[in-house]
C-alpha cells in the first residue's frame, strides 16, 4: 500500500468506528464527543481530497456551531436520568438488519462501478495555483449564484423559525 492508501485506510477505519460509537453510546454527550472526533477525521479526509476550504468549513460549521448546538440542547434539557434507561427501541434487531443489508447492497454495487465522466478544468494544480478559497468563491458567485441566494434565504427562514419555535409564550 502506498502512503495515501495507508492514510485513507486509517481515516476510513476511524470514521467507521467513530460513527458506530456515535450511534451506540448511551450518554448523548459522549456521542457528541465521538462525533466531534469523527468530524475532525472527515476534515482530514477532505484535506487529502484537496478541499481545504471545505475542511475548514466542516470544522467551523459542523464542529463549531451545529455540534455545540447539540451539546447546548443536551445540557439544557439535562438528560442525566435518561442514561439509565434502555437506549434502543424494541425493533432494534430489525434496524440492524436494515443497516447491514443496506451496507452490503450499496457496497456491492458502488464497489464495482467505474465512473466515466468528462474531466473538468479544476485539476489539483489549477486549484493549488489559485487557492482553494478563491476557486470556490469564483464558482460560487458565477455558476452557483442562484443556489447561493436560495441558501441564504433558507438560513434566514431557519433563523426566524428557530426564534419563533424556541421563544417562550408570553401569555
Amino acid at each position: 500500500m502506498s502512503m495515501p492508501q495507508v492514510f485513507f485506510a486509517y481515516l476510513a477505519g476511524m470514521i467507521t468506528v467513530l460513527s458506530l460509537l456515535v450511534v451506540t453510546r448511551k450518554n448523548p454527550v459522549h456521542s457528541v464527543l465521538w462525533m466531534l472526533v469523527m468530524f475532525l477525521h472527515i476534515a482530514a479526509l477532505y484535506l487529502s481530497l484537496n478541499a481545504e476550504f471545505l475542511a475548514a468549513i466542516q470544522i467551523i460549521v459542523y464542529a463549531g456551531a451545529i455540534l455545540v448546538l447539540f451539546l447546548f440542547v443536551i445540557m439544557l434539557l439535562n438528560l442525566r436520568k435518561e442514561e439509565t434507561e434502555k437506549r434502543f427501541q424494541n425493533q432494534w434487531p430489525f434496524s440492524v438488519g436494515v443497516g447491514v443489508v443496506l451496507a452490503i447492497f450499496s457496497v456491492s454495487i458502488v464497489g464495482k462501478i467505474t465512473v466515466i465522466a468528462p474531466l473538468g478544468q479544476y485539476t489539483v494544480e489549477a486549484v493549488r495555483s489559485e487557492g482553494s478559497v478563491m476557486t470556490i468563491g469564483k464558482v460560487l458567485y458565477t455558476d452557483f449564484l442562484l443556489p447561493f441566494e436560495i441558501a441564504s434565504l433558507l438560513l434566514l427562514v431557519a433563523i426566524v423559525g428557530a426564534v419563533v419555535l424556541a421563544k417562550r409564550r408570553l401569555e
Binding site: 450518554n27 454527550v29 459522549h30 464527543l33 466531534l36 475532525l40 481545504e52 476550504f53 475542511a55 475548514a56 468549513i57 470544522i59 467551523i60 464542529a63 463549531g64 456551531a65 455545540v68 448546538l69 451539546l71 447546548f72 445540557m75 439544557l76 487557492g131 482553494s132 478559497v133 478563491m134
Partner: protein, 322 residues
C-alpha cells in the same frame, strides 16, 4: 516534513509556552500597577521567576476528582483547550518567510480551532457534575457561538482587502499601511469578540468569580487547572497575534533610519504584547457585562455592524478599483 522544520516547530512551541507563562506574570504586574500595587515581587528580581514557582506548585498539588464526575471527559477537557490553543499558533506568521504551516486558509484555521477550543470549557463544565461548572459551561457555549460569528465576519473585511485568507499574504498586503486604518470598525469588533472568545473581562461570564466561584474550572485543581490556565493565556496570545497580523501589520515596522535594522520579530512581539496589554488594561477598567447585555451586544450590534462593514468594504473596493 523535514527534520529542520520539526525542530523549528518544537522550538517555537517551547518559546511560545514560555511566553504564555510570562504573559501571566505580565498580567499580574500590569494589573497590580493599575491598582497602585506592585504585583509579584518576591520570587526572583521583581518576581520574574513567579511563573516558574507557580507552575512547580501547581504540578505538585493534589489532583482532586469530584464524585460522580464523568472521568474520561473530565480528563480530556483541559487537554482539548491547550491543544487547540497551541495548534492555532501553526499558521501565525512570526517573521518574514516563517510560519510553521503557511496555509491558504490561515484565518479559517484559527477560527476552526477556536471553536474546537470552546469544547474544552463546555465539556469541563458538564463533566464536573457541579452546578457552578455547569452554568459556566452553558454560558460559554452560547457566548462562543454568538461571538464567533461576529469575529469571523469582522475578519472578512481584512480578507477582502488583502484578497487572501493566507496570513502571510495579509501581512504582506500591509507593508505600506496597516489595515486598522481602513477597517477601524472591524478592528473594534474583532477586539471585543476576541475578549468574548477568550472569556476575558468584561465578558468573563464563564468564570465570573462573584457569581460562579470559578465557573467551569470550579472542580479542577492542580495540574489540570494549570492546563486550563495555560489554555486561556495561550488563547489570549493567539488572539493577540491574530489581531496584530490582521490589523496592525504583523512584522512590518518603520523601515527608515535605525528602525530598519531592528529584527522583524521584535515588531511582531511588540504588537502582540501591545494587544495583550490592552486585554489587561480593559480588565483593570471595565466591570463585567450582564448576560443579556452580552447577548444583545453580540447579536443586535456586532453582527449587523460587521455585516454592514463587509458591504461597505466591498462597495468601496469595487468602486475604487473599478
Amino acid at each position: 516534513m523535514d527534520l529542520i522544520q520539526f525542530i523549528m516547530t518544537l522550538i517555537v512551541i517551547g518559546v511560545f509556552l514560555l511566553h504564555v507563562a510570562f504573559v501571566q506574570y505580565f498580567e499580574r504586574k500590569a494589573l497590580g500597577h493599575m491598582q497602585s500595587r506592585l504585583g509579584p515581587m518576591r520570587v526572583g528580581w521583581h518576581g520574574l521567576l513567579q511563573p516558574i514557582a507557580d507552575s512547580v506548585k501547581l504540578l505538585f498539588k493534589e489532583d482532586i476528582m469530584p464524585a460522580n464526575a464523568d472521568k474520561p471527559i473530565f480528563y480530556l477537557a483541559p487537554i482539548i483547550g491547550v491543544v487547540a490553543a497551541i495548534t492555532s499558533l501553526a499558521v501565525i506568521p512570526i517573521w518574514p518567510g516563517f510560519s510553521i504551516a503557511n496555509l491558504n486558509i490561515g484565518i479559517l484555521f484559527i477560527l476552526a480551532l477556536s471553536s474546537v477550543g470552546a469544547y474544552s470549557i463546555v465539556l469541563a463544565g458538564w463533566a464536573s457534575n457541579s452546578k457552578y461548572s455547569f452554568l459556566g459551561g452553558l454560558r460559554s457555549s452560547a457566548q462562543v457561538i454568538s461571538y464567533e460569528i461576529a469575529m469571523g465576519l469582522s475578519l472578512v473585511g481584512v480578507m477582502m482587502l488583502a484578497g487572501s485568507a493566507n496570513l502571510t499574504d495579509i501581512v504582506n498586503a500591509q507593508s505600506k499601511s496597516w489595515f486598522i486604518l481602513y477597517q477601524p470598525v472591524a478592528c473594534l469588533i474583532f477586539v471585543l469578540s476576541a475578549l468574548a472568545e477568550t472569556n476575558r473581562v468584561p465578558f468573563d461570564l464563564t468564570e465570573a468569580e462573584s457569581e460562579l466561584v470559578a465557573g467551569y474550572a470550579t472542580e479542577y485543581s492542580g495540574f489540570r487547572w494549570a492546563l486550563f490556565f495555560m489554555a486561556e493565556y495561550a488563547g489570549m496570545f493567539v488572539m493577540s497575534a491574530l489581531g496584530a497580523v490582521c490589523f496592525l501589520g504583523g512584522w512590518n515596522g518603520p523601515d527608515f533610519g535605525i528602525f530598519a535594522n531592528v529584527p522583524k520579530i521584535i515588531w511582531f512581539l511588540l504588537k502582540v504584547y501591545g494587544c495583550i496589554f490592552t486585554y489587561f488594561w480593559l480588565r483593570a477598567t471595565l466591570p463585567r457585562y450582564r448576560y443579556d447585555q452580552l447577548m444583545n451586544l453580540g447579536w443586535k450590534i456586532f453582527i449587523p455592524l460587521s455585516l454592514a462593514n463587509i458591504v461597505v468594504t466591498g462597495l468601496v473596493r469595487v468602486l475604487w478599483k473599478g
